[in-house]
Amino acid sequence: MAETLFPNVNWDRMWGATVDTLYMSAISVVATFLIGAILGLLLFLTATDNIWGNKLIHVVLSAVVNIFRSIPFIILIVLLIPFTKIIVGSMIGKNAALPALIIGSAPFYARMVEIGLREIDKGVIEAARSMGAKTTTIIWKVLLPESMPALVSGITVTAIALVSYTAMAGVIGAGGLGNLAYLEGFQRGRSDVTLMATIIILIIVFLIQIIGDSITRKLDKR
C-alpha cells in the first residue's frame, strides 16, 4: 500500500530525516525555553516600577529582542553564517541550523514570557514581599509557578514555529525533513516524497500542540 502510494520514498532516509528534524527541534526548544525565560524575566524585572527597575538595561534589552524578533528567519540564517561557522565548524548538517533556530526564536519567546509575567497579579508579588521574600524566592516561587501555564502555552507555539524553521533551514543545507523534501522531492520532481515529509511534519506539529495544551490545562488551577 505504502509502496504504491509513495513509490519513490526511501523509508530509511525518511526516518533518518525525521530523527534529524526532531533533534533540531528538541535542542532548539530547550535552549529557547531557557534563554527566552531568562530574557523574559529580565525584561519584566527591569521595567520601571519593578523590582530591578532599570531604564537603561530595559531599553537596550528590549531593542535587541525586537530587532532579532523582526529579522525574517531565512535572512537570519544567512546573516549568522560566519557565526555558525565559528561555533559549529560547518554550514552543513543538523547542528548548523541550531544557532539560527535559537537566536531566531528565543527573543520571540522572551516577549511571550514577559507578557505572561505581566499578567501575574501585582498583589501576589507584593504579598510575597510583605512576607520578607528575597527576589530569588519571588522568581522561583511566585513568578515562574504563577506564570507557568502562559510559559508552557508560549513554548508550544514557539516549538511549532521552530519545526517549520527547521524545514526552512533544511533548504539551505541543514538536515531533516525540509532538506529531504527539497532535495529529493522538489528538485527531482518526486512529489510523493514532499508529501510524505509534509505529513510527518504535520504529525509532529499536532503532537506538540496536543501535549502542550494538555500540560497547560493541568497546570492551570485558576
Partner: protein, 341 residues
C-alpha cells in the same frame, strides 16, 4: 508596639506633588486593635504600607516592634517583615498552590524545615476553621474562605503585628462579620496587635479599640472608639459615625413626624455604655404629664461598650416638656432637640 513620628509621604506628579501622608503621628499599643478610617485617596494604604516597609516615608520615622522600619534595608527588613504580616483586600493568594501550600509559603521563606512546616500548617488550618480544605486550590474557595487562608498565612511565622488593608471590603456583610470575629478571636488568643484600614465604620465599631480618622493625608481625629462615637469632633467623623448609628430613613422619618405632630418636640437621645440600660422612658412617663412616642432607635456594640441613639417625640404642656428635657439631661444621656413642633 507601633510609633509613627512626623511621617510624610510625598509623590511627585504632573500637577505638583501629592501629599499622600502628611505629618502623621500615631501610637499603637501592644495587643490593641487599631482602626484607620477614611475615604478613598485619604492616604490609608500609603500609611499602612509604611508599617512593613513597602513604602518608605519621605521624612519622619516609623518604629514597629522595636525596629525602625523606615530605616532598615535588605536582610534586616526581610526579617522584620516576618514579624509584621499583612492581609489584603483581594487576598493575594498564589493560585498555583493549594491552601496548605499557600499557608506554608511564609514558612518556606523563613527557612522552617519541612516536617515542622507541615505541623504548623495543620494547626493554622484548624485555627482559621478550614479543616479538610488543605488540598483545595484558591479558585475552589469562597471569598471568606480565601481571606481565612490569607489570615492563616499571615499568622504562620507568629508575627507581632497584623496589618489589614481593607481586609473585608471584598466580602458580603455576613462574611465580613465572620472574618471580623475571627480577628477578634486571634487578637484575644494570641495577644496580637492588629492595625486595620477601612472605609466602613461598621468594621471600626465592631472590632477596634481605638480609631484614627484620616482625611487628605492627615489624621484629623483619634480616640477610643466609644468616645469617638459619643462625641465626634470633625464633620468627617460625624459622617462616619452616622454610617452605623443612623438608619438611612431617619431624616425622612423625622420630617414626616414633624409634619404629623405639629405640637411637641422631637428629641434625639444618645446613650453610651451604662446609659443604654437605664429605664429612662419609663421614668419620663411616670414623672411627667407628657406622652412619649418612640420614633426610631438603634443600639450598636463596640469593643469598649454599647452605644445607642433613640429618636422620641414628646407632647404635653410647654413647661412639662422643658422639665422633662432637663430631667433627661441630668442622666448620662445626650439630648438634642431636633425641632420644636
Amino acid at each position: 508596639m507601633i510609633t509613627i513620628k512626623k511621617a510624610r509621604k510625598i509623590y511627585p506628579s504632573k500637577k505638583g506633588e501629592v501629599k499622600a501622608v502628611d505629618d502623621v503621628n500615631l501610637e499603637v499599643k501592644e495587643g490593641e486593635i487599631f482602626g484607620v478610617i477614611g475615604y478613598s485617596g485619604a492616604g490609608k494604604s500609603t500609611l499602612i504600607r509604611m508599617l512593613n516597609g513597602l513604602e518608605i516615608p519621605t521624612s519622619g520615622s516609623v518604629i514597629v516592634a522595636g525596629r525602625e522600619v523606615s530605616k532598615i534595608k535588605g536582610a534586616e527588613l526581610r526579617k522584620a517583615r516576618q514579624e509584621i504580616s499583612m492581609i489584603f483586600q483581594h487576598f493575594n493568594l498564589l493560585w498555583s498552590r493549594t491552601v496548605a501550600d499557600n499557608i506554608a509559603f511564609p514558612l518556606e521563606i523563613a527557612g522552617v524545615p519541612k516536617a515542622e512546616r507541615d505541623k504548623r500548617v495543620k494547626e493554622l488550618i484548624s485555627l482559621v476553621g478550614l479543616d479538610g480544605r488543605g488540598d483545595a486550590y484558591p479558585s475552589q474557595l469562597s471569598g471568606g474562605q480565601k481571606q481565612r487562608v490569607g489570615i492563616a498565612r499571615a499568622l504562620a511565622n507568629n508575627p507581632k503585628v497584623l496589618l489589614g488593608d481593607e481586609a473585608t471590603s471584598a466580602l458580603d456583610p455576613q462574611t465580613t462579620d465572620q472574618i471580623l470575629d475571627l480577628l477578634v478571636d486571634i487578637n484575644k488568643r494570641l495577644g496580637l496587635t492588629i492595625v486595620l484600614i477601612t472605609h466602613e465604620m461598621h468594621v471600626i465599631r465592631k472590632i477596634c479599640h481605638r480609631v484614627a480618622v484620616m482625611e487628605g493625608g492627615r489624621i484629623v481625629e483619634t480616640g477610643h472608639v466609644l468616645d469617638v462615637f459619643k462625641n465626634p469632633q470633625q464633620p468627617i467623623t460625624k459622617r462616619f459615625v452616622q454610617q452605623v448609628t443612623e438608619p438611612e430613613e431617619t431624616k425622612e422619618t423625622v420630617d414626616h413626624l414633624l409634619d404629623r405632630y405639629p405640637h411637641g418636640r422631637v428629641i434625639q437621645l444618645t446613650f453610651v455604655g451604662e446609659g443604654v440600660e437605664q429605664p429612662l422612658i419609663t421614668n419620663l412617663i411616670r414623672k411627667f404629664e407628657i406622652t412619649v412616642t418612640i420614633v426610631q432607635g438603634k443600639i450598636s456594640q463596640t469593643q469598649n461598650g454599647s452605644y445607642g441613639i433613640l429618636f422620641i417625640h414628646l407632647d404635653g404642656e410647654e413647661e412639662e416638656l422643658d422639665n422633662a428635657i432637663t430631667f433627661i439631661g441630668q442622666h448620662e444621656v445626650g439630648v438634642e432637640v431636633i425641632s420644636n413642633g
